[in-house]
């Protein structure tokens, strides 16, 4: 039992890990292409909305102590709804993992392994997942708790290391493409906060379920700060008219850091840290996918699934033929997919379940 329970701080790290990983690949680029120079203001704006949504999710989950969204959907609509919701969220975790993995590996392919086939860049991640899936959940979370501060420091370091190269005039025009694009259509940038999806699944793992509010709010706030650092680094460093490098904009930003004569090209070290972070992301999404699958199939043990899900991720990540297809999927489909599942479907299920509970309470 103790092997599956995590502390509230570990839970915060777990949620923020999901936020952070997407920033390492093309998330800042997508945000910048949507709202241009107004991205920082837009991020603050969608960040506040995300905080509110996190609070709403917390309030809705509060009535179902230690139940996740799959259990709640079972309560709402029986096994059929449970299987549908479970299936949708498994698809979401698998697709987002595959997408992120492929994008990151394309970056690695370009930066370090131009002569190597992309499959061979992907496979080491899958091998690590085989191992981590077969070990306890708490060991996975503890590892994240060790790695996450290093990742956070790396981003702060990246920001301050590049400070001398920043052109603050790039923040102007402050409203980018205009008020409408920043605050009305720009609301779509909320897909950046996809890590909120974890909030639906962590209640059963919490040692102290009463700290859910703290977890929900803190994780979104830390994630927001992190986004601001990343986006500001890229916005102030590169001209959005020129467009950032095609792959891994943060990696490109890291190559500008210079400390004296000796430390001139530190981007590889940043990449080392980000490899760890991507690994952590895959661990989390894999564990949640396995856990949901176990629930909907009533399996007793998780270990037999330890190899199946990583292989599924490998297969799906190899589906897109090239990087431009991934970019197209990422910027045109994936963001709507996230909004639909996390912010519409998830909240709707919770809302209906709460209404049902209230109704039952009144009947009694």
């Amino acid at each position: 039992m103790t092997d599956t329970k995590i502390t509230s701080k570990e839970a915060i790290m777990l949620v923020v890990t999901i936020f952070v990983s997407h920033t390492i690949v093309t998330l800042p680029q997508n945000l910048l292409s949507n709202t241009k120079s107004a991205t920082l203001i837009n991020l603050l704006y969608v960040g506040i909305i995300a905080i509110l949504l996190a609070y709403v999710i917390y309030r809705l989950l509060k009535n179902f102590a230690s139940l996740d969204i799959v259990d709640i959907s079972q309560y709402l609509g029986g096994n059929i709804l449970k299987n549908i919701i479970g299936g949708i969220f498994i698809t979401y975790f698998i697709v987002s993992s595959s997408n992120l993995l492929r994008e990151f590996c394309e970056g690695l392919h370009v930066a370090f392994f131009p002569m190597t086939s992309i499959q061979f860049v992907l496979i080491p991640f899958i091998l690590v997942l085989f191992l981590t899936n077969s070990l306890s959940f708490s060991s996975n979370v503890k590892t994240i708790a060790i790695i996450f501060p290093i990742v956070l420091i790396s981003i702060v370091f990246l920001f301050f290391g590049n400070f001398q190269n920043f052109s603050f005039e790039r923040m102007f025009p402050i409203l980018g493409k205009g008020f409408y694009d920043t605050f009305i259509t720009g609301i779509g940038n909320i897909f950046a906060f996809s890590g909120i999806s974890c909030l639906y699944f962590i209640p059963p793992y919490l040692k102290e379920p009463n700290k859910m509010k703290q977890i929900a709010l803190s994780s979104v706030i830390i994630g927001l700060l992190y986004f601001l650092f990343c986006t500001a680094t890229i916005l102030l460093l590169f001209s959005f008219f020129v467009d950032v490098d095609e792959v891994l904009p943060l990696y490109s930003a890291a190559s500008y850091i210079e400390f004296g004569i000796f430390f001139q090209r530190l981007e590889s070290f940043f990449m080392l840290i980000w490899i760890l972070e991507i690994g952590c992301y895959l661990i989390v999404t894999n564990r949640f996918s396995i856990s949901i699958f176990q629930k909907i199939t009533n399996l007793k043990f998780q270990k037999p699934l330890a190899m199946i899900f990583p292989l599924l991720i490998l297969g799906i990540s190899l589906l897109p033929k090239n990087y431009s297809i991934i970019r197209f999927l990422e910027s045109n489909i994936y963001s709507y997919f996230i909004i639909a599942i996390i912010f519409v479907l998830g909240i709707a299920i919770l809302l209906l379940a709460n209404l049902k509970k209230r109704k039952e309470g009144k009947v009694r």
């Binding site: 370090f112 392994f113 091998l127 690590v128 070990l135 503890k142 000796f262 590889s268 490899i275 661990i283």
Partner: protein, 572 residues
């Protein structure tokens, strides 16, 4: 005659009879089941009242006809003026002959006041007279009690009715006294074998700590611990392990501190070891840990009584094995392997500085060669151009790829290290000098390896020596090769993912129910335990992951002399 023999040997074929010894294996499996039955019988065998039967049994069990050091001394025992046939069983070389002569044989054999006193055989305990009838309460004469209380001036004498117990103690250096008509035997402590005296620790050197080390004798080791703990709550339980060797092991803990569940778990594991022999603490360590597949040490092994005592007072459990000059401490967490007893003896700032150095040493020992290979193979841009040029220039004459080059050097280094340990101690430093200086210099001159790689491997070697625990250092040495391979295959991708997998395994490891990474996972608050030491007055608590019975190690204000006017309620 000789000519005839020569001719016959030339023309006659004489088949050569070659001596050929072959050990045939019994594949039927009957032997083991027979042995088990015999063992069961032997364990239940009780002592006979007839001395001659006992004598025959003892002779046959100990093979006294062929066993040169088994002594059976037959004599006549005097008790209350009567004479009884008796014999003593002991092993030559394991007993103290002075004690044997003066305090066993002399009182029993020689006629003296005590054994010649011939009073009534039945002793009157009390007497009452009612209506002219005298009622006497009489205690019958009991030879065993009489010998025990009057004829045996020994501090440790026990009576046993089973042969197995008697034999067990005789094998440990006691002597057994068998007397005719008695169906018990006396187990008399007369141990007196040679043993090593307490010496300086050889592998755990400290600057400011005590200079005593454990020895092979378990009783000396327990006394060393008891002397330091100096408290009646220190419990030293005796557990015998091994069907053949019946090795004495001591389970030591402080009753008022150690978690009862932890003690029970360890006792359970020790009592459920079905093995023939237990000869060292290293064997025991492998028999009791949760996971032997990974090389991460899960038990602390120390030769220092002060270190063992310190852990006992933290609420941990110490295990001693007779014949092993090392104590095992459980449970162990990651940071224990980077700590030394000197840390607590030095000022906090000094200790913490050294602790930083040890972390660095751990990383260098584990990752530096792997990182070098990764940088040399995939990430050359990390190096400043001048340095890159000098590395390339130094590698110009080397005909091997970097992986082969580093493997040659690493394996050479391991060879030198192993040879340094195995050769007689006066030659040890010579091996180091020959290996490190001469071979290294020659290898560079011959163009087999590059000078920069010599620096990398030497740094790694030195760093591994800075890791205080031998087992942990060994573990790092093994995993280093894995990281070299990963660095060569995938550069930082391999190193990063390898490190991630390593961390997960580390976090998954448990030592007797305690997470191995307790205290290093930044978000798991561990009260009373941190790698870096707090000032001595702030070390108030015992480590919470041990769940000790007493959490406070010292008062909130430990240095009360500093605050003479502070009242008790102010402290609260």
């Amino acid at each position: 005659m000789n000519i005839k023999r020569m001719i016959s040997s030339l023309f006659t074929y004489i088949p050569q009879e070659q001596y050929n010894f072959v050990l045939f294996r019994d594949t039927t499996g009957n032997q083991s089941s027979e042995n088990k039955e015999l063992k069961k019988d032997d364990e239940n065998k009780t002592i006979y009242p007839s001395l001659s039967v006992n004598l025959e049994y003892v002779k046959s069990k100990y093979n006294s006809m062929i066993n040169s050091d088994i002594i059976i001394r037959e004599f006549t025992l005097n008790a209350r003026g009567k004479q009884y046939s008796a014999f003593l069983l002991y092993i030559d070389g394991m007993i103290n002959t002075d004690i044997m002569n003066k305090f066993v044989l002399e009182p029993l054999m020689l006629r003296n006041k005590s054994n010649m006193y011939d009073n009534e055989q039945n002793r009157i305990i009390s007497e009452a007279v009612t209506n002219n009838i005298t009622v006497r309460k009489v205690k019958k004469f009991n030879l065993a009690d009489y010998i025990m209380s009057c004829l045996m001036p020994q501090n440790t004498v026990e009576q046993f009715s089973k042969f197995s117990k008697i034999f067990n103690d005789v094998n440990s250096g006691n002597c057994a006294l068998f007397i005719d008509t008695l169906n018990i035997a006396f187990d008399i402590e007369v141990k007196g074998f040679e043993k090593r005296s307490i010496d300086k620790p050889e592998n755990e050197i400290v600057i400011k700590g005590a200079h005593e080390a454990f020895v092979e004798n378990i009783r000396t080791n327990t006394s060393l611990i008891r002397r330091s703990v100096h408290n009646e709550n220190l419990i030293i339980e005796n557990i015998q392990i091994g069907d053949i060797t019946k090795t004495n092991c001591a389970l030591c803990y402080v009753k008022t501190l150690a978690n009862s569940d932890l003690v029970a778990e360890l006792r359970y594991r020790l009592n459920n070891l079905e093995i023939d022999s237990m000869l060292s603490s290293g064997q025991l360590e492998q028999m009791i840990v949760d996971n032997n597949l990974i090389s991460i040490p899960q038990v602390i092994s120390t030769e220092r009584p002060d270190k063992a005592t310190s852990y006992l007072l933290d609420g941990r459990i110490v295990l001693l094995v007779n014949g092993a000059p090392y104590a095992l401490v459980v449970p162990a967490v990651f940071t224990d392997f980077l700590s030394t007893p000197d840390d607590k003896n030095m000022r906090t700032s000094f200790s913490n500085f050294i602790k930083w150095i040890r972390i660095l040493a751990t990383f260098i020992s584990l990752l530096l060669p792997g990182l070098y290979v990764a940088i040399a193979s995939f990430h050359q841009e990390l190096l400043p151009t001048d340095l890159l040029y000098s590395i390339l220039a130094s590698r110009e004459t080397v005909p091997f790829p970097v992986i082969l080059e580093i493997l040659i050097l690493e394996i050479s280094f391991e060879l030198i290290r192993e040879a340094g340990i195995r050769v007689p101690s006066p030659i040890g430093p010579t091996i180091g000098i020959v290996g490190a200086l001469i071979i290294g210099q020659s290898a560079v001159s011959a163009g087999i390896v590059s000078p920069i790689l010599i620096i990398v491997v030497a740094m790694t070697g030195i760093a591994s020596f800075a890791v205080p625990d031998y087992s942990f250092s060994f573990h790092l040495r093994i995993y280093r090769f894995l990281f070299i391979f990963l660095g060569y295959c995938c550069g930082f991708l391999g190193i990063g993912l390898g490190f991630l997998a390593y961390l997960v395994v580390l976090c998954d490891t448990k030592s007797f129910g305690v997470s191995f990474t307790s205290g290093i996972s930044p978000l798991q608050k561990t009260v009373g335990h941190s790698y870096f030491l707090q000032p001595i007055w702030l070390r108030e608590f015992r480590a919470s992951y041990l769940d000790p019975k007493k959490h406070n190690k010292q008062e909130k204000i430990s240095m009360k002399w500093k605050y003479p006017f502070l009242k008790e309620e102010d402290i609260q």
